[in-house]
């Protein structure tokens, strides 16, 4: 154990791998010092575990209807009660983590690279490239996210994939802006001048030297944005334009519970709490990561 500690904290690493591990370890120490970030991390890990082990954790089949047992209050048998079709709400929430994660991952995978590429190219080259790319970004920024997503879903048809595409199309502009702002800061720095003096091509400079500088702030931005993405997905689900029944999506579950909210409060409350908790978790983690990754 003490060997491992010495290996990770060595001031003179002997290989690329050790240098990278030591860097990661220093960041972990910084994150560990922030209790709120750890709470966020715990929530996110919980979400990942719930998604991975959903069939084990869930007490019932999330899709099995049982009209004899509809709208039962929380009890030992149904921890969070049952909904209007007699489905176990706890099991549906647990399985809903998968839907939520799929949406978040699809959006992040498509949004991050697009925003990063557009932002760094615009920031690095400047001039008319910058003007054209940023005006396109401005156009997308001008629309409220949910409204634009609604329009896309209306055109493409409802469904979880289309909801993801719609969210991705509306989520990339802030990423491009963050990446562009970072790029403009480092573009004229001496270390970029130095690689230019080594004869590096523009493509190489953007990919290998500018992007690594932008990535930490984009990771932070993404983590903070995940809450918003989850809420938008839930909003689309609530409006019936996201995940389609009987898929256990949290927003759609709230919509189903709306009619019974005064008499059978648990139908809408538990999925609402789940959304709240996950959004909070990502936000806390994002705040913590900002402190860790921005420290230079």
């Amino acid at each position: 154990m003490s060997n491992l500690y010495a290996y990770l904290t060595s001031e003179a690493p002997v290989s690329r791998g050790q240098a990278r591990l030591a860097q990661a370890y220093r960041r972990w120490l910084a994150l560990k010092a922030n209790p709120l970030a750890l709470v966020g991390l715990a929530i996110v890990v919980l979400l990942l575990l719930a998604a991975a082990l959903a069939p084990v954790i869930a007490t019932h089949d999330p899709l099995a209807q049982n009209l004899d047992q509809r709208l039962l209050a929380p009890s030992a048998k149904h921890w969070f009660g049952t909904d209007a079709l007699g489905r176990d709400i706890f099991s549906r929430i647990v399985h809903g983590t998968r839907v939520t994660l799929v949406i978040v991952l699809l959006v992040v995978i498509s949004v991050g690279p697009i925003g990063l590429l557009i932002g760094t190219v615009a920031g690095y080259f400047g001039g008319w490239v910058d003007r054209v790319l940023m005006r396109i970004t401005d156009i997308f920024l001008a629309f409220p996210r949910l409204v634009l997503a609604l329009a896309f879903v209306a055109v493409l048809g409802p469904g979880i994939e289309n909801a993801c595409i719609a969210i991705a199309l509306t989520a990339w502009p802030p990423y491009a802006r963050v990446a562009r702002a970072e790029t403009m800061v480092v573009r004229n720095s001496d270390y970029i001048a130095a690689v230019r003096l080594q004869g590096a091509s523009n493509t190489r400079i953007v990919l290998k030297h500018i992007m690594p500088v932008c990535i930490p702030s984009l990771i932070v931005r993404t983590t903070l944005d995940m809450a918003g993405i989850i809420l938008t997905a839930a909003g689309l689900g609530f409006l019936g334009l996201g995940a389609q029944p009987p898929m256990p999506e949290w927003g759609a579950m709230i919509a189903n519970g709306r009619e019974y909210i005064f008499d059978q409060w648990w139908v809408a409350t538990f999925p609402g709490l789940a959304i709240c908790l996950v959004a909070l978790g990502f936000n806390l983690l994002g705040d913590g990561l900002r402190d860790v990754l921005d420290a230079r």
């Binding site: 001031e11 690329r16 050790q18 270390y191 230019r196 003096l197 004869g199 500088v213 230079r296």
Partner: protein
């Protein structure tokens, strides 16, 4: 001796301000040429035009016998390299020393990365323990050594130095200057050193150009400066200021 660098009629403007005015000088192969002047006199701008970083200049620049255009061919960068003023800003904060030094080797597809990096670090007096550190784990002097190693790993014949010691502690300055003069002797480098400090220039250079407001007002040998055999009142002022700050130049 042949000429490594010939500059004539060099003009550089940024917008409406005319920063370098009709500058001309010649640096012989293997010579160390100093450019001194106060900040804003245009000395660093000349260096950036020579290196190809600044492409908006007019006049004639000949390096290694070839007339240079605004855009330089890849081979140019193996011939001419530059060390920057601020070692805190000239190393990529997210790259290890190893990655920083591997980059020029990869760009020019020279191969044999490990051996080249080990040798470049040894040449600037850093042992292998520094190879996988990040810049934030290095002191200012160590960073500047890495920056020098990065410039020399392409084995250039001409090294441009933009105030290479002014961001360092006084105790480290002499160390870095000695390293540079050792490397110059070992490799037969041609140096162009820009500084506001005559003592620093005097340590390395045989010939000095004094700049004021974008013009070279005087060019003199180090001996002439040491013996006070100078024409311009401005040079005398600069010399006096430098003596006050750093003691007699002959002590260097």
């Amino acid at each position: 001796m042949s000429d490594a660098i010939t500059v004539s009629g060099l003009n550089v403007s940024f917008g409406t301000s005319h920063v370098v005015k009709d500058v001309g000088f010649t640096v012989r192969t293997g010579e160390s040429y100093g450019i001194v002047g106060e900040s804003g006199s245009g000395k660093s701008t000349i260096l950036r035009a020579l290196s190809g970083l600044n492409r908006d200049w007019s006049g004639a620049i000949t390096i290694g016998g070839a007339r240079q255009q605004a855009k330089r061919p890849p081979a140019f960068y193996r011939q001419v390299q530059m060390v920057f003023q601020d070692p805190y800003g000239s190393l990529h904060p997210r790259m290890t020393v190893d990655a920083t030094l591997a980059e020029p080797v990869a760009i020019h597809a020279l191969g044999d990365v490990d051996r080249r990096i080990d040798r470049a670090l040894a040449d600037v007096g850093l042992d292998g323990g520094f190879r996988f550190r990040y810049p934030h784990q290095l002191s200012g002097g160590q960073r500047q050594r890495v920056a020098i190693a990065r410039a020399l790993i392409l084995e250039p014949s001409i090294l441009l130095l933009d105030e290479p010691t002014s961001a360092l502690d006084v105790s480290i300055q002499a160390e870095v200057l000695n390293l540079l003069s050792d490397l110059k002797a070992a490799r037969g480098l041609t140096l162009v050193l820009v500084s506001h400090n005559l003592a620093v220039v005097g340590h390395l250079c045989g010939r000095v150009a004094v700049m004021k407001d974008g013009r070279i007002v005087e060019e003199a040998s180090l001996e002439a400066i040491r013996s006070g055999d100078i024409r311009e009142a401005y040079t005398r002022d600069l010399l006096a200021a430098s003596r006050r700050a750093h003691g007699a130049i002959s002590a260097a």
